[in-house]
Amino acid sequence: MKKLSILGALWLTACVTINIYFPAAAAEKAADEIIKEIQKVEPQKSEPKAGLSDWQIATYQALDKAINLVMSSAHADGADLNIDSAEIRQARASMEARFSTLLPHYQAGYIGIQADGSLAVRDPASVPLQIRNQVSKLVSAENQDRQALYQAIANANGHPEWAAQIKSTFAARWVSNAQSGWWIQSSGSWKQK
């Protein structure tokens, strides 16, 4: 009996602490991947050619196999940060759909990227009246989606508390993925990239 209680005490005191650190590098990689996908300018889709000859089909099939191989190995390696969940897809889909409308406003300099990675209307008074409401609504909707994306990534990885770190990782990536000519705010003042 005594033995058992000593063992029990030992068992209780032998705590193991497991620290899970924020995977900064993986987060950067994920941020880049997501941002590039959002800001992708849709290429002209070329219709697959109908009536392929047999050797072409064979080539495609060979390619399929190769792709499948690569894909499965990539899946096996696995990134440190999961960026696939319904919430993440939802935020991404919404931002991808919005980007083409945001782009002309980035280029015109009406909007810019703030230090925390959120968008801002640089000078509301300089935006033409006809589009002023649209620009302001776009910015607030985009910021909502960005915030939702950070929280969704944190949730998908089982660490809701990572949202702030994910946000700051994204902040730097939004800036570095900005196209030249876009406005970026650093230490309070706006500069053109």
């Binding site: 109908a50 399929d64 939802q90 008074a125 409401n133 776009l138």
Partner: protein, 679 residues
Amino acid sequence: MIRRLLAVIIVGIVPVAHAFDAVSLDIEAVATQGWSLQGATIALTELAKNQQQLALTVKTVVLPKPLDDLSLVNLRCTSFTWTAKQMACNKGRAELHSTYWQSPSTNFSFQIDQKRSTFKLTELSLAGTKLAVEGVVDGDRWQLQIKAKQVDVAVLNRLFPQQFFALTAGKIDLNLNVSGIREIPEKFTITAHLEGLTGQTANGKIATEGLMLKANLEASYQNGFWQGQSKAKINGGAIYMEPLYLDANGQSIQLDAQANWDVVNQRLDIKSARYQHANVASLSGNAALQFKDGINIQRADLNLHSENLVPVSTIYLTPFLAQTAWEGITLSGKARANIAINDQALETLTAVFDGVSVNDSAGRLHVDEGSGTINWASNALFNEPSTLAWQQLQIYALPMGPAKLAFLTQASNFSLLNKPRIPFLNGTIAINQFSWQAQPQQEPKVVFTGSLDQVSLEQLSKALNWTPLSGSISGQIPKVEYSNKTLSLAGELLIHVFDGVVKISNLASSGLFTALPKFHADLEIDNLDMEQLTGKFEFGGITGKLSGYVRQLYLENWQPISFYAWLGTPDDDNSKHRISQKAVKNIANIGGGAAADALSRSFLSFFETFGYAKLGLGCYLHEGVCQLMGVEATPSGYAIITGGGLPRIDVIGYNPRVDWAVLMERLKRITTSDEVIIK
């Protein structure tokens, strides 16, 4: 009498050349009727002539309160009279000093009687224009009139810098008339013509661009009430009031109002108001507002009328819908509505629509020739029915024919009064029950039961841009419920198609109107006739039966994300099993290639069709990869088709894992082209 009020110090009569040609009187200070003249000198000139001139020079003149901000400096009056009862300057010139007014000089005249005094300033320069100011002080009463023409607002903005509204361009004609008693104004009239006014607030939320406005405001004060009426008309230019952008070019905007302001109770009683946007809409009504702890609408009665909802929706609706789920919705047609508000809450609403069309640029909703009357009241006992009819209602790609609904709306409930049968793709949708109930702090709860009868699959597949199918859907829709942003179907939906049955169960959907609609379902497929099925596809003919399932189907944005599916020859099928050469080739392609290797090409080319024992293909879709399986495992892969009879053919798949996108591309290639030829 006036003289008695003067503190006069005669410094001396200054003899000048031409002996007694002129005399002058220096006065240190004159104070009367609230006027104050300091450092005055009165000179009598041209003594030699028959008509002598009395001239007044004053260092500073301060006007009576409340006009005492104005002071005239270095005043010279060349036409001056001074009698026992009156001091008057009919023609003078002076510099003007004021906190607000800056003008190098002005023409002036004044007249100080025993009780009444007047003054007039003309040629007063302000913001690039000339201004006239006239004032009367009569005992305790006073009146001030200011007339200004073509005041340059940009200059005005520099003279009176303020943070609220920065003016950059435009001209103002202003006519202001204020009168009052002691220091309290009692009545004023303002007439203003704004020409090309451009300006905005610092945050840019309110702005004007080239605004052309004529406004008139009259107000008078009596017994604690201000009574006023105003007329304003915008004839050109644009106004931005976030989120609205109103362009008045060609369509004037007019706002007339009559109101009472209860000073003590901070209550605004709008007796009548009318807002009219030409060719767009008009809104009129009355209201009582309380301005204690924010604005409280105590009561309001509003009438809205529009003969053309197109501009109403683009000007007044679109800005509010931007970046919401309803962005892209536009209206046309006619509407009028009456709204009554009591104590901050909507009390009754009546809306009449005629020839209304609803369009959605995202293609989710379309209504053609909608009409009806909606009666609503917050009272739970309200029982006046409403009607709504349309010629066409389209949800996504699914068109519904004309129908008329009768329903009751009261408080937070909606319930259907009739059982409409809506034409839908050659068949009908019958609605047996429909109710909507708003839940406090929750999404509303919607319940629907109905049935589908003979809905054409051919038209459905065409509408959804699928490969054409034949057959029809019939079945009871047991109970569709929308609650907690989730649409669900309790029970099964049976689709009779290709001589077989497809059973859909566990149907659920969420975020139906978001950028990412999600959809769940289970499908059971029973004894479909392959000859009818493949006859419609450009796939190649197959005979026999097909059964199977798609379980745990999950779609996001209508794209499959995961499912577990199997389609194959049922075990008890004893129908004729033949497969065409084209179908063999296509099935081989689905399997990932090289499946037809089992037979030599030259041999294959001799036959149009082949017999088969079983065919089947399964897919477990997970993370973008389809794990394929066939009717049986073979040493090198899986058999998609096992041969039977002569000539015998076996199709073997070698690659068990195929990327879903690649698989779809293959299927697309097959269905868009029939040029796969076997040599």
